[in-house]
Chain length 575, copies 2
């Protein structure tokens, strides 16, 4: 439809096939090398292994950097859902090498909405073409999640530019020699502006200042202070950057002064869905790997087989190994479904016929974005824990990819806002501020799926469970809103991440029931595309989620409804 009318299922499948091949050839094959050879800083220059260069070239040449952008901007005008699916394939193969391209795409995307024509021409186009790489520069050593406290300042110059001066932290892709230029997108305060988050502006600060032809020229006053040495994600350089040690780095304001945080949040909302998608992709990478191992590795015998001389069986035949595999799949495919659903909402926004409809979709997406970021991150990591467990001692060694995948995925509950912060965002900002209206929209959607499933004998048990869960979610939200008034907002928000987890489990159950409907429809039609086992396996994984996971919401709900303040009441000297 509309902007995406040129694409259809076949064309997207062809793109996914290309992406799969490239992800296997250039990304999966180098993941271990990139992990074992993290970036180094030598005389102020950051070195990354050559494999990152090779992967970058392949990705760029296939046109994936610009996939989501307009034809006019050099892009493929692909729906975000397809782009996210492509990115998931690369992430599953080698998440830390993807960082450079994904950051560049996110940064370039910001210009489509807030950049001037000149900024688009000089910065966005080279980003989309993959000649320049982009970064997002938010945190400072004294201000991680608390952006209102940043101190980096931007002093206006007579020529309309700014001098940027300050120290920044946690910059992914901060420095390297992979691209002709690095374009930093920096939050800073213009002196004299309002305090806190309302005084933050956004600036373009290229590593090399562009000459009049748009080519990188003079070195700008931004330099690496030190590299961060991480548990995983080692292919992506992460560093502290100093701006303006020699008088000030030249920067260009994006949009209006003091509105930088809202621009950055626009980008971060997409980044949050991207984090969730990445975590889901790693969950499934671990699942696929441990599944292959469990099929090949023989050990032990069925419990009933007491003959020590009989042949050992593949470990996939042991009940506990099956459980660890189903659980990984339930988490991974559930999380993936949610993230693709969010991506679809982004596309629906694009296609919305009116501003009001667009706004309605946007509010709904805003509601579930903290869940799409957090649930896959926490449960994707839990899945990777199980992938290691399936391999046993081998899973703990660096000879098998599940070890690296687990370390890589450990970042996801942290970056783009920790689980604790997402919990506050979800309950405090998204659910409470509109008095539960958007949450009502969500539970209404769940109700429709449940209604459709209730007439199917195979699904009716779960349809009823989802209906109950949605009712419980509504009731719990009301209790929390009541508690915020009766007790205090602090007390009601004290277990915000638990409420997010409860809502997350309910949403993932919904996603599984939607998948169940698709399976039943396909089976009824005798659709043999993926084979009967595929659908049977999907349906049983759905069963698992409804039987092993969804019932946990009752405990969480009880805790939340009584506005439990056990932790909140601990005084700091009691620790």
């Amino acid at each position: 439809r509309g902007r995406f009318a040129d694409h259809d299922g076949d064309s997207v499948r062809a793109i996914l096939e290309t992406a799969t091949k490239l992800a296997e050839d250039k990304f999966a094959s180098t993941a271990q090398i990139v992990d074992a050879n993290e970036p180094t800083l030598e005389s102020g220059r950051v070195r990354v292994p050559d494999e990152v260069n090779i992967a970058r070239d392949a990705y760029r040449e296939a046109g994936f950097v610009g996939a989501a952008f307009d034809y006019d901007d050099g892009g493929l005008q692909l729906p975000v859902m397809a782009v996210q699916a492509v990115q998931a394939l690369f992430t599953a193969a080698n998440t830390s090498t993807c960082g450079y391209a994904f950051l560049t795409i996110a940064a370039a995307h910001m210009y489509t909405q807030y950049g001037t024509d000149e900024q688009k021409e000089r910065f966005m186009r080279p980003l989309i073409d993959g000649r320049f790489f982009g970064t997002m520069v938010l945190s400072e050593p004294q201000a991680g999640s608390s952006l209102g406290d940043i101190r980096t300042r931007a002093e206006p110059q007579e020529d309309g530019t700014y001098k940027i001066i300050g120290n920044k932290m946690w910059i992914s892709g901060a420095d390297h020699e992979l691209s002709e230029n690095i374009v930093h997108h920096v939050l800073a305060k213009i002196p004299g502006g309002p305090p806190g988050v309302k005084g933050i502006s956004l600036f373009i600060v290229p590593k090399y200042i562009l000459d009049t032809d748009g080519n990188p020229g003079k070195r700008n006053d931004v330099h690496v202070a030190s590299l961060n040495h991480k548990m995983g994600y080692r292919g992506t350089v992460n560093a502290a950057l100093n701006f303006g040690e020699n008088g000030g780095a030249t920067g260009y304001l994006i949009g209006e002064p003091h509105k930088g945080l809202s621009y950055m949040f626009h980008m971060m909302n997409e980044a949050r869905i991207g984090v969730g998608m990445g975590a889901a992709a790693l969950a499934l990478a671990g699942y696929e790997y441990s599944l292959g191992y469990a099929r090949d590795r023989t050990q032990g015998r069925p419990l009933a087989d007491k003959n020590p001389e009989s042949q050992p069986v593949p470990i996939i035949e042991h009940a506990d190994v099956k459980r660890m595999l189903v659980q990984q799949r339930a988490y991974g495919e559930g999380a993936m479904a949610l993230c693709l659903y969010c991506a679809k909402l982004v596309d629906e926004m694009e296609l919305a016929p009116s501003k009001e409809e667009r706004k309605a979709i946007e509010s709904f997406l805003d509601l579930i974005t903290p869940i799409a970021k957090t649930w896959p991150s926490e449960y994707g990591l839990a899945a990777n824990h199980l992938a290691i467990q399936v391999l046993g001692g081998y899973g703990y060694t660096r000879d098998y990819p599940v070890e690296r995948i687990y370390r890589d995925n450990r970042l996801n509950p942290i970056h783009e806002g920790t689980t604790g912060i997402q919990g506050l965002d979800f309950l405090g900002r998204k659910v409470m501020r509109d008095g539960g209206d958007m949450l009502g929209h969500l539970t209404a959607q769940m109700g429709e799926t449940a209604k459709a499933a209730s007439t199917d004998e195979r699904l009716s048990e779960h349809a009823a469970a989802l209906t109950d869960a949605a009712t419980l979610l509504t009731r719990t939200a009301k209790a929390l809103m009541g508690g915020a008034q009766r007790n205090s907002p602090e007390a009601a928000l004290a277990n915000a991440p638990t409420f997010l987890e409860m809502a997350g489990h309910t949403i993932i159950a919904w996603m599984w029931l939607r998948q169940g409907l698709v399976c039943q429809e396909a089976l009824a039609k005798g659709d043999g595309r993926f084979g009967a086992s595929f659908y049977a396996g999907k349906l049983k994984t759905m069963d698992f989620f409804f039987r092993y996971e969804l019932p946990k919401i009752h405990h969480w709900s009880a805790l939340l409804e009584r506005i439990d303040t056990t932790c909140h009441d601990m005084s700091t000297d009691e620790f």
Copy 2:
């Protein structure tokens, strides 16, 4: 009492103080170095960093290797509970450097029961003195957990020795130059013996064959095949060993032929409690570190404070950070209490006045050993996950110890039997085999604690919850035993790790209520030793466990009681 009459609270506290100082000076200070410089294999020789040597010397010189052994054997005759507490301190400081000593202690301990006088003289004494280091050699590449399938063979020689030939895997401390000799304790099969686990014998295979004076002489035919490169625990060499590539390694039988596995299990039972203790120690190390960070790090403001120019507060004041700290403490101190309780049972066995009483304690300890191994391993790691979360991005870097602690602790759910295997051991072997008798003993003990707590207003809520939990545990066990008969053992055991988790949560709640009683008693007596805040904090952490954790058993119980076979029923082609 008895064997331990020379020791009392004061003397043990003095030993713990010495251990604390040594753990800080020689172990904590080198943990990062040892982690960053894992062992290397150069021309067949394994190199470990010098820091391991320094730590080894300090530990040995303080007499800690022999702490648990008889005075006659050169030991300090300390109760196991005190020894475990000492080991916890060293583990918290630097778990991977401890591996050499702990393995040596465990190996030496085996001789006290199964060694001949000559074997004690030639091998046990140098192990206790710290001149020789010991290993346990069980697994093979094709047989990890399935020891009945090992292929290493021991061929009897005319002089009464054996030639050992085979390939072994996952040997901690397999090779190094830290000690004068390495004494391997190797499981192998004497040709012609029974198949499976009933044909396994245990052999002493020194790296250097001893001369008549007991000094290391000729090199034995055992060599490193390759090193394993692990996620964590990097200070401890772990390798594959080849025995008998040049005709056969000389080995000496321990005890009788074909009884090796039972001897090894004796050692492994203690090792399992040690694993749990190590995991608990790492949970608390992460807790302490993240607590210190949360007190120092300022960021953000209370929710009610809307002034962006007010001073940021220490993050410990945020409700979610408090929750992450209380949760870590609840897991860590609960797990530690259980492991110390198990160690106390080992001491009580030693002191038991009759063989029957000794046997009764042993059976009870056997019941809870798989829980003491598994619950701390899984929940200790969950605690470390939260420690990283408290630090945010910093927690993901190798500049802060929580990152290493998390990687180190990841081993604990794997070695000495994975969580899945412990689940089968607990439900299949320990609970079902005696028809629930020992489980009844456990719930009776819980009942006594609950009764004592029920008359205390502060504790009565939790006393009632523990009583209910114990009843539910009994009912669930009965349902599982019924299911094993009615359905099949496979179906009843399909969720064995969930039953272990349920029993684990119930036992940890019991441990917390015991701690609650001690706190109340101390407060009533006006005991100011640790200060009022200490007891208040303990009691609130107990509250946390009873309110946030224990209620999870209801979901698990429902799943288990209906003999859920969702995973078990997945056929392998449906994955």
